[in-house]
């Protein structure tokens, strides 16, 4: 795929606080790209820089080979779906959607056919005469989408698009959003703090923390091969253990964690000294059948519908959780029972030591 939007060494500060630190991205044409991070990580600032509502202190924004860093918002071929929708309260749905085309002085017949097409795409074909105040959150969300896509922008920005919807509706809108993106083939860049949404919809996800990217990859890579403790912790649940690297044996890395020998798939460059290992709860088996073994005693068994979560404590007091499908409830251990947690070497995630946070 062709590169469409490129950020080159973007940095920006509010007063003395550096909110964006040397940001580089390369978003490809037709990609559904996510900016994922906790609140205050700088993702909304980055979105404002892309939309042109704000200009960065340093760096360049390229769109289709053109430098648009200083181009004001109204001259950019980029449209935004705002978090609170920001529908114009004095205009009905039709006029809201027609707004962008009217500003560009298109002819009324052209506007009519495009607006109707856009409203059809978001499944609100007969809502033209409604006022925004007479609509539900989900409907306003669709109008906001229609108002942006009717302009056929090169890039569509979405700021926490589903944040204000309830869980059921959010799932449905996720699906529709993906459908819409496929149908239009437009590049979507979406800001969210919801890792579930990013993993479900995103072709690629940029995980942000403290104004910089921790990792940019697809959902599989981020989840299975996270580059940092932060990424590993932010996407899904994970157990962490302090470990020391012993060395490399063939294609395996040998480590020691809490006195237990642990093996992992060897990364391309062999780390040395202290590190952190992570194991996802669903990768741990309770029958002791896998090669990496840790003895522990059961603290608590939590039932969450489709899963049981078993929380166990090692002899050194580290809590580890493992997750089991709710298909063999008879195999559940009891509180206080001694068990052996085990996992495959391929499921050991080796992470650089976390300097900012004591684990």
């Amino acid at each position: 795929m062709k590169s469409l939007l490129r950020l080159d060494a973007i940095s920006t500060s509010y007063g003395n606080t550096r909110v964006l630190n040397d940001i580089d991205i390369d978003v490809k044409e037709g990609e559904f790209f996510f900016l994922l991070g906790p609140s205050g990580c700088g993702k909304t600032t980055l979105l404002r820089i892309l939309s042109g509502l704000m200009h960065p202190d340093e760096g360049t924004v390229w769109l289709g080979g053109k430098d648009i860093t200083r181009l004001p918002a109204h001259q950019r071929d980029i449209n935004t779906v705002f978090q609170n929708y920001a529908l114009f309260p004095h205009l009905n749905v039709y006029d809201n959607v027609a707004f962008g085309l009217r500003m560009k002085k298109r002819s009324e017949p052209e506007i009519r056919s495009k607006v109707e097409e856009a409203l059809r795409l978001v499944s609100l074909p007969d809502f033209g005469k409604r006022m925004p105040t007479q609509m539900s959150g989900g409907q306003m969300q669709r109008v906001a989408l229609a108002r942006a896509i009717v302009n056929e922008p090169a890039v569509l920005l979405l700021d926490e698009p589903l944040g204000a919807l309830d869980v059921k509706l959010r799932k449905q809108m996720q699906f529709e959003l993906k459908q819409l993106q496929r149908k239009l083939g437009t590049t979507f860049i979406c800001v969210t703090h919801d890792q579930d949404e990013a993993m479900t919809l995103g072709d690629r996800i940029a995980v942000m923390n403290h104004g910089r990217f921790e990792q940019i990859a697809d959902a599989h890579t981020l989840y299975n091969q996270p580059a940092s403790h932060f990424v590993c912790d932010f996407l899904g649940d994970c157990n962490f253990l302090q470990a020391v690297v012993n060395g490399r044996v063939d294609d395996k890395l040998s480590l020691t964690a809490e006195g237990n020998p642990i093996s992992a798939s060897a990364p391309q460059t062999t780390p040395s000294g202290a590190c952190i290992i992570g194991v996802r709860p669903e990768k741990i088996s309770l029958d002791g059948s896998r090669e990496n073994r840790v003895e522990a005693s059961v603290e608590q068994v939590v039932f969450t519908g489709s899963h049981y979560t078993v929380i166990a404590k090692t002899s050194r007091g580290t809590s580890l959780s493992c997750r089991m499908f709710n298909d063999r409830p008879s195999a559940l251990p009891e509180t206080g029972q001694a068990i052996t947690l085990s996992w495959h070497h391929t499921d050991t995630i080796v992470l650089p030591p976390n300097l900012s946070q004591s684990q």
Binding site: S51, G52, L53, P72, A73, H74, Q75, I78, N79, T80, F82, Q83, N84, Y85, A86, L87, F88, P89, H90, F99, G100, M103, K104, M131, P132, T133, M140, R147, A148, N151, A164
Partner: protein
């Protein structure tokens, strides 16, 4: 059938009492404007003579015309300046903003007499000839404050994302103002203008101090007339003024109805 109890009756009486307290004097004034007798004490028969007499009173008619000129021009100028001030305060951050904001409220809270004397002193100082223009300028000064306060309140309730959304959709700064900001603040601007006009129409003190030859407004004319007693002519002009004001209020309510759909949405 409706059922009555003591509390209900007391409540009703109380309500009527309040209304009587406010409106009885005005009602008396209206009634006596149709009285044949010159003295406002005895009812001696219905007449429209006093209204006809008004029209032939050139001094009074001149003062009405002056009041209209002062009211319209000061309202127009103050509405534009006050709205611009509110927009600037809403949009920009600059050094001394808080002080400027507070100073804009001053004309509302400082005593009218202080305002009047200071304006007069200032006019004398800059050697401005007192007349109708000096009254208009004086009215603009306090009307700006009223328009500013109302428009500012309206802007405070506006979602900042609306203007961003418009710019994002390709609207130039002027188009953003014309198609989004102005429609949103329009009810505030209109009620500000109506309030400004009413206050200007009503003002005696400041006009009294700042008017010169040919600058007599209606309240000043009425004041000079009652030196020779309250004539039914004054009752008549007051009645017309009341009707005119009520018309303005009805207009304001109608306008508010038209803009009723303008509400903030989202959170």
């Amino acid at each position: 059938m409706k059922r009555y109890n003591a509390a209900g009756i007391l409540q009703t009486l109380h309500a009527w009492g309040v209304y009587a307290f406010i409106y009885a004097p005005i009602l008396v004034l209206i009634v006596f404007s149709f009285n044949q007798e010159r003295i406002n004490a005895v009812w001696s028969g219905f007449t429209l003579d006093w209204y006809l007499k008004l029209v032939s009173d050139t001094d009074l008619m001149d003062s009405v015309l002056n009041s209209v000129i002062v009211g319209l021009s000061s309202t127009a100028i103050a509405t534009i300046l006050g709205t611009m001030a509110a927009l600037a305060m809403h949009r920009y951050y600059f050094w001394g903003k808080k002080i400027m904001d507070a100073v804009l409220y001053l004309p509302i809270v400082i005593p009218e007499i202080v305002m009047a004397v200071s304006l007069l002193t200032f006019y004398v100082f800059i050697q401005l000839t007192l007349g109708l223009v000096s009254v208009i300028i004086a009215h603009v000064t306090f009307n700006i404050a009223f328009v500013f306060v109302i428009v500012q309140a309206r802007l405070a309730g506006m979602d900042a994302h609306l203007e961003h959304a418009a710019a994002d959709l390709g609207a130039t700064p002027w188009q953003v103002f014309r198609h989004v900001t102005l429609p949103y603040i329009a009810p505030g601007v209109l009620s500000g203008a109506l309030l400004a006009f009413t206050i200007s129409w009503d003002d005696f003190m400041i006009a009294f101090f700042t008017a010169g030859v040919g600058g007599t407004t209606l309240p000043m004319q009425v004041y000079s007339m009652i030196k020779f007693g309250v004539s039914p002519e004054i009752n008549a002009i007051s009645t017309i003024t009341i009707l005119f004001t009520m018309l303005l209020i009805l207009l304001a309510v109608r306008l508010e109805g038209i803009f009723k759909t303008v509400k903030t949405i989202g959170t």
